[in-house]
Subunit: 192 residues, 2 copies
DNA sequence: CGCGACGTTGATTTGCCTCAACGATTGTGG
DNA sequence: CCACAATCGTTGAGGCAAATCAACGTCGCG
């Protein structure tokens, strides 16, 4: 399968693989095509999958007891997404993972991932580095959350992730910033 | 050196090493003893070290243009600490890492760490798993920050990390929660 | 076309901040 | 070891940012 082959190369574009390694990797990645609005993970699920976004946009969010939504992460092309708390710790999901646009995803499950680490050890390093960068970004976001005003956080978000904007409704952004849609509306008005 | 040897085993307690591996690891870890108030990383530093806390307590915090402090992370026995944004990305530090008590630290620098990954590949996995757990904890903290009131965040923090409390002043906790010391004082009053 | 989802605006309330003053605690030098 | 200063924590009054509640305009889609 030549075309799937090239997708695998795209996922791990910083690594070079032999044909036999590509075969190994292909055997544990599964392509899923989802439509806007589709849900990949629901609260209470056991999350044993990690998702690579080849195309489209997804978000991970939590719904509290009052039904309010809080977005923890957006993901677009070439990002990985899941409910990481559940995926890494084995706890049940408290998050929902939802497609914000028609998307093409490559999915790998937890056991297969561990197996893959054994088969091709430099993939361990690959994911460690991905994780390091994501971790650094989260640290910055925590700092932003405790140190900046809503307006500053909004401007910072828009400047940092301009490519994501086109997939988002205002209420997605508000739920990411931890403010209401009304407040976001007023912030946008003040800035214009 | 029998005693240093045992410390290495403590740092990597989920792994088993041969004597020659222990020698390799010892050669890249350096013990530092710091006093309460000592600074390990300053804003503007190139951060090429990762710190393992054998004993004591440290924190990583940011100082904004008005001189206000925002604590991003505390660390106690058996935690790792640094300015991760700087350490992972190679950017200059925007954080300060400070000892909140007399502490015993084991320090490894970035190049040595990469070298160690090559020498003993399962250490890659060890750090990946550490990072996964830290990442999950950060995701929870972000959610807490955007979804909970200051009082809820305070109670959640105290319940989750009771062992850290004894090292902290109230203003440390306030700077971690993103509130003022006055607000924290009032929250404590309301809860009692 | 008509309905539901989305975004905006206004009035009011609330949670946390700011500024200021004052106890309590800690630590240090005489 | 005490005295005193500095640091830390608490309390009060007032202000501001963002939430809440409510109404209404707009847009996109079945």
């Amino acid at each position: 399968m030549r075309s799937d082959n090239s997708k695998i190369k795209e996922i791990f574009k910083t690594l070079d693989f032999s044909d036999s390694e590509i075969k190994i990797i292909e055997s544990v990645f599964h392509k899923i095509v989802v439509k806007k609005g589709d849900i990949l993970v629901r609260p209470g699920d056991l999350v044993d999958s990690h998702y690579y976004i080849l195309e489209g946009c997804l978000r991970t969010f939590h719904i509290d007891s009052q039904g309010k939504e809080y977005t923890v992460q957006f993901g677009i092309k070439d990002w990985w997404i899941s409910d990481y708390t559940a995926f890494f710790t084995g706890e049940k999901a408290i998050m929902t993972v939802e497609a914000l646009a028609d998307s093409i995803i490559y999915k790998i499950n937890s056991n297969h991932k561990e197996w893959l680490y054994d088969q091709i050890p430099r993939i361990d390093r690959f994911f460690r580095i991905k994780l390091e960068r994501a971790f650094a970004a989260f640290q910055k976001r925590i700092l932003s959350g405790i140190s900046q005003s809503a307006s500053d956080r909004y401007q910072h978000f828009m400047a940092t992730y301009p490519e994501i904007e086109k997939y988002l409704k205002n209420y997605h952004i508000a739920s990411y910033l931890g403010i209401t849609t009304e407040s976001l509306s007023r912030i946008r008005k003040d800035l214009s």
